[in-house]
């Protein structure tokens, strides 16, 4: 005379699989996200309403800002292989040698602003110390125009490795005077690079 018992269904679902997937994705995003390295030359970019994003590869960023009251230019290039190839070409041109370790370090670092002769000193430093090193900018006057060569060899390296034309982005400080920006633009135009990106910040809607 057994009573018919309703079997109780459990209300909980098995979350193991979901949890697995969630953590897999989480690990993926954490690993792909690159930690923001403190900028070597902090600049306050002007704002605009244009919302085009910068490309992530095949890009070189020229940062124009003030350091010790002088307007300086820092150079940055995306992609480890391209960086290393560029360094190799520059080293040949300027008769400077870099050890494989230094080249490796250069491939991983961010923007820099020193003459190539003192680049190895910067490469020896820890990433955090580079910002405090008081980098003086890449020489760009007519006697010693290293910036021009960096631009040229970066383009060469990018075509060799990625078979694509390198894009240039100018990240200028809002307070920088126009001639400083024009100097860099002219340098790019001398090499027939006529199209570039100006890095800007986001402006409020009601502008």
């Amino acid at each position: 005379m057994g009573k018919i018992k309703m079997t109780k269904k459990s209300t909980s679902t098995d979350m193991t699989a979901m949890c697995d997937v969630a953590f897999l994705l989480l690990t993926f995003f954490i690993l792909t996200a690159t930690a923001k390295v403190p900028e070597v030359l902090p600049v306050d970019t002007p704002q605009s309403t244009v919302q085009t994003k910068l490309p992530a590869t095949d890009l070189s960023m020229l940062t124009i800002g003030k350091s010790n009251g002088k307007s300086v230019v820092f150079f940055d290039l995306k992609g480890k292989e391209i960086r290393q190839r560029t360094l190799e070409l520059m080293a040949q041109k300027y008769n400077v040698t870099f050890t494989p370790k230094e080249s490796e370090e250069f491939g991983l670092m961010e923007s820099f602003g020193v003459p190539i002769q003192s680049l190895s000193q910067i490469l020896d430093m820890k990433a955090a110390d580079r910002a405090k090193a008081g980098q003086t900018g890449i020489p760009k006057d007519s006697l010693d125009n290293q910036l021009k060569d960096w631009i040229l060899y970066a383009r060469t390296a990018n075509i060799e490795i990625n078979d694509k034309e390198l894009q240039f982005a100018i990240k200028g400080d809002a307070k920088e005077q126009y001639p400083a920006i024009k100097e860099v633009m002219d340098m790019l135009q001398d090499q027939k690079v006529n199209s570039f990106n100006l890095v800007t910040g986001l402006r409020g809607k009601n502008f």
Partner: protein, 189 residues
């Protein structure tokens, strides 16, 4: 969300003493919640941290003077914007010496109430003018002349205005005529 114990508490049959079965399941809800929260955070921050940029294409620079061609444009369609020190902005329409009606050199401020209004009204006038001439596609041409004292912010601001107003044809010109120089140096009105 508590786990329901479903493996009934049947310990009374047969009188045997059985050790109670412990539920081996762990409640994962909170863990999943946290994982998804972090996923969302990382997904959003990776895409948002890409800086924005503004495309700028300049015309080819021609070094050889014999290859230089001066393009003649209708003065009724051009507006020249001079960028000066401390956010000074002067605009005139047509040729400086003989400006088009209503286009005498005048100071403007940056932004919504200043130069943008002027760009919009002038753009309409030019459009009417072109339509009357039978070429409705010819819009306004803006010549931007940043002086040596102007800042990068000024340049980006005015380029931004071009994008907002939708001026398709604009050029950055670096040469200043003495008349224009005087305009910028002149006292603020």
């Amino acid at each position: 969300m508590a786990e329901l114990n479903t493996d009934g508490g049947g310990g009374k049959k047969g009188g045997k003493v059985r050790s109670k079965k412990q539920n081996s399941k762990v409640d994962l809800t909170a863990m999943v919640d946290l994982a998804f929260l972090l996923i969302t955070f990382f997904m959003l921050t990776t895409t948002l941290s890409k800086p924005q940029s503004m495309d700028l294409t300049l015309p080819d620079k021609e070094d050889k003077p014999e290859n230089k061609k001066d393009v003649k444009v209708d003065e009724n369609r051009t507006m020249t914007v001079l960028l000066g020190e401390n956010g000074k902005l002067v605009r005139y329409v047509g040729i400086l010496e003989t400006p088009v009606a209503g286009g005498t050199p005048k100071d403007f401020a940056y932004g919504k109430e200043g130069i943008r209004k002027e760009l919009i009204t002038r753009g309409k006038l030019v459009k009417d003018y072109s339509t009357a001439k039978g070429k409705p596609k010819d819009g306004m041409i803006v010549i931007i002349k940043p002086s040596k004292k102007s800042t990068y912010r000024n340049l980006v601001d005015i380029l931004d205005e071009m994008a907002i107003v939708g001026v398709g044809t604009y050029a950055i010109v670096n040469e200043f005529t003495p008349g224009e120089q005087k305009l910028l140096e002149g006292k603020k009105e």
